[in-house]
């Protein structure tokens, strides 16, 4: 019951992009530095987010990534689904899965349990928009990059 780093990094990266909303594209190199994520790895993540229609890329000098929709229309759920696949606690709940493989197909108690829990998880994830996150952040400016760099050098990570 853990999240992979893809999901966590994804939210952090997207948070940076969201902070830049309305100010043009943000370069991947900039995101990588601010959030201390390996640039190559971040490329993978952003590519997935692009395919999912969450961000758009602008190529060429001064290019970068920007949100494809307004922060209020973007939820944590969108990001997690894009990066970790559909939330299907049991494989028989994946979209497109049939009950063919299940020997107790009709009224499988287990399936009902995982299905119900999955719905609640989606609800929780979808109830948090990036607009809310930005608002929580409003005013409180983060540590200065140089200060952060010092902390990271001292072995500090991030959530």
């Amino acid at each position: 019951m853990k999240l992979s780093t893809k999901g966590k990094y994804g939210v952090r990266a997207l948070f940076e992009i969201a902070r830049n909303y309305g100010k043009g594209p943000l370069a991947i190199k900039e995101i990588a530095e601010r959030q201390q994520i390996s640039l190559s790895y971040l490329e993978q993540i952003l590519h997935r987010l692009g395919k999912a229609g969450i961000i758009e890329s602008v190529r060429g000098p001064h290019g970068g990534y920007e949100l494809a929709r307004k922060p209020v229309e973007l939820t944590i759920g969108d990001v997690v689904r894009a990066l970790e696949g559909p939330i299907a606690l049991s494989h028989c709940l994946e979209p497109g899965a049939t009950t063919d493989g299940c020997y107790q197909a009709e009224d499988c108690v287990a399936r009902m349990v995982w299905s119900k829990v999955g719905e609640k998880i989606e609800e929780a994830l979808d109830s948090i928009t990036f607009e809310q996150l930005l608002r929580q952040y409003h005013g409180k400016d983060r540590e200065h990059p140089a200060h952060r760099k010092k902390l990271v050098a001292a072995g500090k990570g991030a959530c």
Copy 2:
């Protein structure tokens, strides 16, 4: 965002034990057969559930496992926590974890997000008791073991 087989098998095994509630201990061999779980693997799982105080074992002939508490006091959350560890979407939320390693300690937006989602997940898991599962099952007797065996032999699995 998947569940490991430990969690899924655990719930299924426990469901069998719960079905036998009040009728004395249920042998592990019986559980393994009914739910088509490898006996050796099931031993591991039941041992963890025992250490977590969810089931109690009775040794000797006619021994087996039985619920340590009433089905109404046993939730899916108890089982998942026992088998998959505490539900901490981010490692900085694990019990006993400090914020020492986090360079944005004070108001880490990411942590707030995962903490809130984690709470909702726990809520969902804890809202389902085995008593409810048993009631849903009431009356509908499962396929006959022999029939099930045939289905399993034909390559059918379970949720």
